[in-house]
Amino acid sequence: MKAFNAKYVLVLLAIVAIAALMACAPAAVQPTAAPPTTAAQPTAATAATAAPAGFQPPTDALGVVTIGPNDPVHVGYMFVTSGADGALGIDSRRGVEIAIDDKGGKLLDHQVKFDGQDSGCSAEGGQAAAAKLAADNTFTVVLGSSCSSEIRAGGPTLSKAGFTVISPSNTAPDLTDPAKRFPGYFRTAHNDKVQGAVAAKFALEKLGVKTAATIHDGSPYAEGLANAFAENFEKGGGKITSREAVSPTDTDFKPVLTKIAADKPEMIFYPIFVAAGSLITKQAKEVPGLGDSVKLMAADGTFSPDFYKGAGDAAVGMFQSSPDFSAFTGGYAKFLEEHQAKFGEKPVSAFHAHAYDAFNIFAAALEKVAVKGPDGTLYIGQQALRDAVAATKDFPGLTGTLTCDPNGDCADPHIAVYQVGEDNVKNAVVPSQPFWKPGQ
């Protein structure tokens, strides 16, 4: 009898729960759905008080984000802010914070609210973060992600939810490949087709090496960049001795380095992330046959203080390709001052200025498309916002003059190569002066 009762209660609970869900679901969806012209004001309060005849809020194919007169413009981020690669996302987040400060904390007389999710620099983290962001319909835009793997997994969710997504640091070439790009995606970071070409040019012309091995970790960023490098290196007359792959959680790279050593390359290019990258740097010195003679080169994924801490003295003298700080425009000096004042240190990674620009092209697009109701309510058509960002042309940013191409590449890419010096390792700071840049 008791068992029967329990079962009965459970079934009843289940039915109630399902009923509740069904009742809630449409209500939750409503604000993002395109409001019909008759149901003018989504918020009851504003509808009752101030709606003079004649004002029609805009309609939009993807829905309209409505910001009440006293509500903030909600800007979301999806950056990696913890773990070995945390510096990458924290750096970008700080860039956006400074951009918001420069606007006086306001857009169109509305406060800017800026928060988001840690996406962990992994596909799983990206998916989870995107799901959480997509569930909150107050966001007008998502700035992110940090790592290409995150957006590859989480991007479709954000895209379907109608968001405009602008990344300051995704560089994998296939994210803006017309066949694979998802609608509403833009980036202010360079495409790794550019970085791969610069790294190969540096290896061939400046270092004068003829043979190289590459290592990637299976992530879209690392694989894309390693392949871009290899293609350009071979096109330029070099020979790729082996293309190796590891997994990002590996710690023992001596076996794979021993295999590489059997082909005697003059250089190893390993555009991977901080944890694995620092271990490879360290272990390359311990593998006989590689030793000190082989040139080591990594890329912007390892441009972080934690990389120098992890690799220690083994990193001194190695090279890293990354955005060229010296090519940034005049406003960058002021940015650095504000950064120092606000955070008490120099930028911790490479994409702070790109994040600053990402926020500003969003802000410019928002100012173009937002419709202000007579009571101060903002109506932002999501498709209109995407179109406005896509139409960005000759925008003066910190990283250069930004123009979005039809595939979402908005960057004005300048890549330089940096050499790790002793003070970078000792003080755990990223290099600020390029060692070489194309055309030098």
């Binding site: 997994s247 590996d250 710690t251 023992d252 076996p255 944890a275 006989p288 934690d306 220690g312």
Partner: protein, 353 residues
């Protein structure tokens, strides 16, 4: 069970055996091709074996913790990977302090002993608390209950350490006394590798002696045979179980420091992968059997290090080290096809099951 299978060969058995033989054929063909091409020198093969034995020794030490607990409680202690993480992550602060004070450079032996002792004490404490708080109250619950508890405890410990020490990895200081290389013929060993091998061997021999020669060891074996009978013979089962966790924890703490010396980076998440590997090693050797865990660990370490090059390079498969885990687990399957209770799993194992 086995007898019945032998008398009536089922189609699935034939399929599984054919699969096993197919894999062996690929391995043999791949190895033959790689060696025929002669791309790698003898010293490079020796290097690969040395790397494999180093990591294998560490796997073996962790695997002992899994296997001893299984032998006594028939339970997989999934939180053991966090016991392994707790020691070296906490001992990092001691190592860092010793390095800053200069003691690590002037008195490396004492410093290392201190670091080992500290790490072992922390790991042991975590293991003991785990047993007292999470497992003992569930001693008579169905077997799945402590298993799920172990997974929960594993998450709890991981995130507790994440909260305590942050998400960044910490870098162990370099020990000047361990920088150096010994060359014997084609074999080239760094001092760190020698230290790892000697410590792992010493700990394993010590454990084996303890289990085989002491009264407590005898009691452990008795509890492993049958908990009820052991209790009837006047053995305090609870205290023997506690002893098992103490031993497992201490070995994991030592393995953690060895891991930190070889790979230098420690973080709250460092336990997961070695934990899975060590568990695999324990199964590979025959779970519940102490020498099995040692053998399984070494075997897995060597296969991971040598396998991708030896088996796949000759077949012209690109980037074989991406498949290192696939190779390790394929070999696990292979061993389990032909020896379902592991390499060392023989009569005793079947009797128990």
């Amino acid at each position: 069970m086995l007898k019945r299978r032998r008398s009536k060969l089922e189609i699935t058995d034939i399929f599984i055996y054919a699969f096993g033989i197919f894999i062996i054929a690929i391995i043999l063909y791949g190895s033959f091709e790689t060696l025929r091409q002669g791309k790698y020198s003898a010293s490079q093969w020796a290097d690969l074996f040395v790397f494999g034995i180093t990591i294998g020794g560490i796997y073996a030490l962790i695997a002992l913790g899994y296997t001893m607990v299984y032998g006594i409680l028939q339970m997989i202690n999934f939180a053991h990977s966090e016991v392994f993480m707790a020691g070296p992550l906490t001992a990092f602060f001691l190592a860092d302090a010793l390095a800053k004070s200069g003691l690590l450079a002037t008195n490396p032996a004492i410093s290392l002993l201190l670091i080992f002792a500290f790490s072992m004490i922390v790991s042991t404490t975590v293991a003991v608390l785990l047993e007292r708080i999470a497992y003992r109250p569930l001693r008579h619950a169905p077997r799945l209950v402590p298993l799920i508890t172990a997974i929960g405890a594993s998450f709890f410990l991981q995130y507790a350490f994440r909260g305590l020490f942050g998400t960044q990895f910490k870098v162990y200081p370099e020990i000047p006394a361990l920088e150096g290389v010994v060359t014997i013929g084609v074999v080239r060993l760094t001092y760190t590798q020698i230290l790892v091998m000697i410590s792992a061997a010493a700990l394993m021999i010590g454990l084996q002696a303890f289990v085989q020669r002491t009264r407590t060891g005898k009691a452990m074996r008795a509890v492993a045979e049958s908990r009820e009978s052991a209790a009837l013979m006047g053995i305090n089962v609870d205290s023997i179980i506690l002893t098992t966790f103490v031993l497992g924890g201490a070995l994991a703490g030592a393995a953690g420091v060895l891991y930190a010396l070889v790979f230098t980076q420690v973080s709250f998440a460092m336990g997961f992968i070695p934990g899975i590997k060590a568990f695999t090693a324990a199964v590979l050797g025959g779970i519940g059997i102490i020498p099995g865990a040692m053998l399984g660990g070494l075997f897995l370490g060597i296969v991971e290090s040598v396998g991708p090059t030896l088996f796949l390079d000759g077949l012209n498969i690109a980037a074989p080290y991406q498949l290192k885990d696939a190779i390790a687990f394929t070999l696990l399957v292979l061993v389990l096809i032909f020896r379902p209770s592991g390499i060392m799993g023989g009569q005793t194992q079947e009797k128990k099951a």
